[in-house]
Symmetry: C2
Subunit: 138 residues, 2 copies
DNA sequence: TCCTACGATGGACGAAGTCCAAGTCAATAC
DNA sequence: GTATTGACTTGGACTTCGTCCATCGTAGGA
């Protein structure tokens, strides 16, 4: 088990069976799950868990900065890899997502003259294209 | 009136009152409307237009590359400014969106070693922060 | 062990988007 | 101008994704 649960407990997060299961599901597989997928995997471990709780917990983890919310298609996806800056490569055909790690901070690419007085805090970069399988399929 | 309608006609787009109205709505205001906002403005000009037609037409314009789909919040937004490369600055407080035009093509920032065999065709960059109003409100 | 405030539940609700069978019409041919 | 036809439109049902809320349960401190 990673230290995600430790970190959360250390930040005063009240630990419940439900929250633990959701955190474990996210922490366990470094893929990008939708809320429904998280619910399915959580239900496998704790059948009584409710949808509202999964949504609540995911929202809290995002607020705490432990998980990143990614909107690439219809449903939001949740990325547990929040501790290392990275970007996403999304297949327009099948929706597959891969993490990529280019160098440089995209935030620095935005000059003050283009900030319109905004307090800019983050930059998301999403590359779109076709994965090898979808490229082959035409 | 711009040449959007001309371009579409030239590409063999069958012109109907509904499609013309949707294209005019998008072309008229350089803001980032949701599908429902497009429907509302279109309905003002052509009361019988249906929601399905607005969605269909928006989808076609996106496929044709005349409009860009932007997913920044709950609902997708449609950006008619597809002919000039640009990026988006989004307020996390109120959802306002501004176009920004930094130099350089973000696609070149992704080395081949990070492409995993994908045929990469586009890069979207979204800057997030607080607009001046929301910054002031704390 | 008891208290209590915080968290979980589940079912209703709402927003955004898709689908489909039937009707309509733009563009072409005559 | 009329006929033809296949593409376009309609509207309402349906699906998916997400939120809300009143009520119940329980983690963690006293």
């Amino acid at each position: 088990m990673s230290d995600l649960l430790e970190r959360l407990r250390g930040r005063g997060w009240r630990m419940t069976a439900q929250r633990r299961v959701v955190a474990e599901v996210l922490d366990g597989e470094h893929v990008h799950l939708t809320a429904d997928e998280v619910l399915a995997r959580a239900t496998a471990r704790l059948p009584e868990i409710s949808r509202a709780t999964v949504y609540n917990t995911l929202g809290e983890l995002v607020t705490l900065g432990e998980v990143i919310e990614v909107s690439t298609g219809r449903a939001k996806r949740y990325d547990p890899n929040a501790h290392r800056p990275h970007q996403h490569l999304v297949c327009s055909g099948c929706g597959a997502i891969k993490d990529v790690h280019p160098g440089g901070d995209p935030l620095t690419a935005l000059p003050d003259s283009e900030r319109y007085g905004f307090t800019v805090s983050a930059a998301e970069v999403t590359y779109r294209g076709l994965c090898p399988d979808c490229t082959a399929r035409g």
